[in-house]
């Protein structure tokens, strides 16, 4: 390949491998990337400004559309932060209902990311297979909540809709169907020679860098950091449920996918436990008193920790609503991962942090 001449290669903002517009300017030497410069902001929709002009109920709809892949995490955390600011206590049943919705979205989101990885390495059959399996979760969301992406399961004070016995049976049946398929997928991603060659040892993020950059979610856990809000500061029903925090020590793209797929098993078990232990009762609590207050809330979204901050001033329009999404923390890690990588791997490494541009740029 041509000597030491470098040239700059734009990647994006519209690129098939990236679901969303983001613009990398790569300085390339032959096939090796020497420098990456990221230009973002294509999906900046000024949502925080919008949130300060809408009331707390309208905002529930708005924040759900920060990003459709982790939409539930946003409405979930938003509901929590408002409840914290208003000093509300939500009914026991709602706490379990929220976990069911969250874990359902988590499985769908993890499978989607896994599928996209197969797509990027050009493994179409595997990609279609994973998407088809994910479709079982989509069916479940549509049947239970009425929408395939933005399921609107949460509202301030509890859950929007109850899951009756018939739906519970249906959910259990779907889980029964999906579990062996996820096991099969995990086996393929762990052992298939092609997937292994392309992803193992790719996009290394050593533990020290991971800590310094404050990465969260499967990216941190793929680098061996045990960090999970569901365990650190239990919320909803997570304190009463049994699950493990999955970690891998490979620090590479392969490990991150393994973390995601193994987390799916935990999610399946969490949904089953919820259906098993869910108490009868109300699903919504009455609204608390609007005062001048500040509150924070954090939850573990599929991509990592979501953090919300609210300042209320006694009216129904929040004075400040600010959130930070997991991808926001993980983006910076890309510069470490992409050090001297191959042009062919840029999209693959980017995908390995499960980037969510619309979340990050709001």
């Amino acid at each position: 390949m041509s000597g030491t001449k470098t040239f700059s290669m734009p990647l994006g903002p519209v690129h098939v491998a990236l679901e969303e517009p983001v613009y990398f300017n790569l300085t390339v030497e032959g096939e090796i990337v020497r420098k990456t410069h990221l230009t973002s902001g294509h999906v900046h929709r000024g949502m925080e400004a919008l949130a300060m002009r809408r009331n707390i109920f309208q905002n529930a709809t708005l924040v759900e559309r920060v990003c459709s892949l982790c939409s539930n995490s946003h409405s979930f955390t938003y509901a929590m932060v408002v409840e914290n600011a208003l000093c509300m206590h939500i009914p026991e049943r709602a706490r379990y209902l929220r976990v069911i919705a969250e874990e359902t979205k988590r499985i769908a989101s993890h499978l989607f990311n896994t599928a996209i990885q197969a797509h990027i390495i050009g493994f179409h059959s595997l990609f279609m297979h994973v998407m088809e399996v994910r479709e079982l979760m989509q069916d479940m969301k549509e049947t239970v909540y009425g929408n395939r992406m933005n399921i609107a399961a949460n509202c301030v004070g509890g859950a929007k809709q109850d899951i009756n016995l018939k739906k519970q049976e249906y959910i259990l049946k779907q889980l029964e169907l999906i579990e062996p398929q996820i096991r099969e997928i995990q086996d393929i991603y762990a052992n298939d020679p092609m997937v292994h060659t392309r992803t193992y040892g790719l996009g290394l993020l050593p533990v020290d860098d991971a800590i310094a950059l404050g990465v969260v979610g499967p990216v941190a856990r793929g680098s061996g950091i045990t960090d999970d809000c569901r365990k650190d500061s239990p919320y909803a029903a997570y304190g009463d449920l049994d699950f493990n925090v999955i970690t891998e020590t490979g620090c590479c793209a392969w490990s991150r996918v393994q973390v995601r797929l193994r987390e799916c098993y935990e999610s399946l078990s969490l949904i089953r436990q919820c259906i098993d232990r869910m108490p009868e009762g109300d699903i919504r609590a009455p609204l608390g008193k609007l005062t001048v207050n500040s509150a924070v809330a954090r939850t573990e979204a599929p991509r990592g920790e979501v953090f919300y901050f609210i300042r209320t001033n006694g009216t129904d329009v929040p004075e400040r609503l600010k959130w930070r999404v997991p991808s926001y923390m993980n983006w910076e890690a890309l510069s470490v991962m992409m050090k001297d990588c191959n042009v062919a791997d840029v999209a693959l490494i980017t995908n390995s942090i499960d980037p969510c541009v619309s979340c990050t740029e709001r």
Partner: protein, 320 residues
């Protein structure tokens, strides 16, 4: 004079031109259809490749302002004509013995890389960053798979030449008649590594998974083809379809040219069936079951496996 007219007819109608294109497009449709079935989908109708080309012909041709106009237009034309000529050299055992007085393996060896060269020319002419990455990838891939190809052809030529006592036999017609007398080379134990090497060569030269690196949609947005659209893209597609016919036909001619009887339509169908089986094994199934290599991985893969396999055959032929 008559020879020339006949040669042109061979290039335009049979086995090149119309026939090759019809077979190749039908294969392509079958390929997509079978891949779809493997993935539990319905897949496109069998006429889809024809529709695609018809559609491309109706679209407007956009030529980027920064592109080198003449080279940009010439490249797909070159790819198409190169392969149309090459297809005429492919013998159909029991029906047609190739252009005997001018055609031999060396001509095919020279003609085969034309689509790749045309693609590189087009990529260079379109002056686009992704195209130039595609260009360097295409070049590396060509280097990677041409090496085993040369050794495979050499092994075949040496074997036949040795047995018939002429040193190295490059005439396809003679290779065919040798096989008709002594059995197919594919069943010859010495040639087995070379045949396997040829099967690995096929996906590389056709640019399908796991070697679809130069045109990787997810990495370099179809690379060299990025700036092409409309009729020019159609020419590339026709050229690529013809190439499918050429490489499959060549494989059948070199390794399994056996005929069923003396009735030519039967032999024609038998030839097409063999080509199809070769495609099924080397292109369709492999494509459906793998992802894509990185360019360096693919390069070393070709140096490690097909080149070594072909070399084994070559050395064995030399010694035995």
């Amino acid at each position: 004079m008559l020879d020339t007219i006949l040669a042109i007819l061979h290039m335009c109608i049979f086995p090149g031109g119309v026939f090759a294109l019809a077979v190749a497009l039908f294969f392509k449709a079958l390929d997509r259809r079978i891949a779809a079935r493997v993935q539990r989908r319905v897949g496109p109708p069998l006429i889809q490749p024809v529709l695609d080309i018809a559609k491309l012909l109706t679209k407007e041709t956009l030529i980027p302002r920064t592109a080198h106009r003449a080279a940009f237009i010439m490249a797909p034309v070159l790819a198409f004509t190169g392969m149309a000529v090459c297809a005429a050299f492919i013998p159909v055992p029991g029906v047609y013995s190739g252009l005997t007085n001018m055609g031999d393996l060396l001509v095919i060896l020279y003609l085969l890389p034309i689509p790749a060269i045309a693609l590189m020319l087009g990529a260079a002419a379109s002056s686009n960053t992704f195209s130039s990455v595609g260009f360097s990838r295409e070049m590396l891939m060509t280097l990677a798979y041409e090496l085993p190809l040369i050794m495979i052809l050499l092994a075949v030529a040496m074997l036949v030449g040795k047995e018939t006592g002429v040193g190295a036999e490059f005439s396809l017609a003679n290779i065919l008649s040798y096989q008709a007398a002594n059995g197919s080379l594919g069943f010859h134990p010495v040639m087995l590594p070379a045949f396997v090497a040829y099967m690995i060569f096929l996906p590389g030269t056709m640019g399908v998974a796991p070697f679809d690196i130069p045109e990787a949609e997810q990495e370099v947005l179809e690379g060299p083809l990025l700036e092409y659209g409309g009729p020019l893209l159609a020419l590339y597609q026709i050229g690529s379809a013809l190439k499918t016919f050429v490489v499959l036909g060549l494989g059948v001619a070199l390794f399994f040219p056996g005929t069923l009887c003396d009735f030519w339509p039967v032999n024609l169908v038998w030839f097409v069936v063999k080509c199809f089986l070769l495609m099924l094994v080397t292109l369709t199934v492999v494509k459906a079951a793998t992802g894509r290599f990185r360019i360096d991985q693919a390069f070393w893969f070709y140096i490690k496996f097909p080149a070594v396999l072909a070399l084994i055959s070559l050395v064995l032929v030399w010694w035995l």
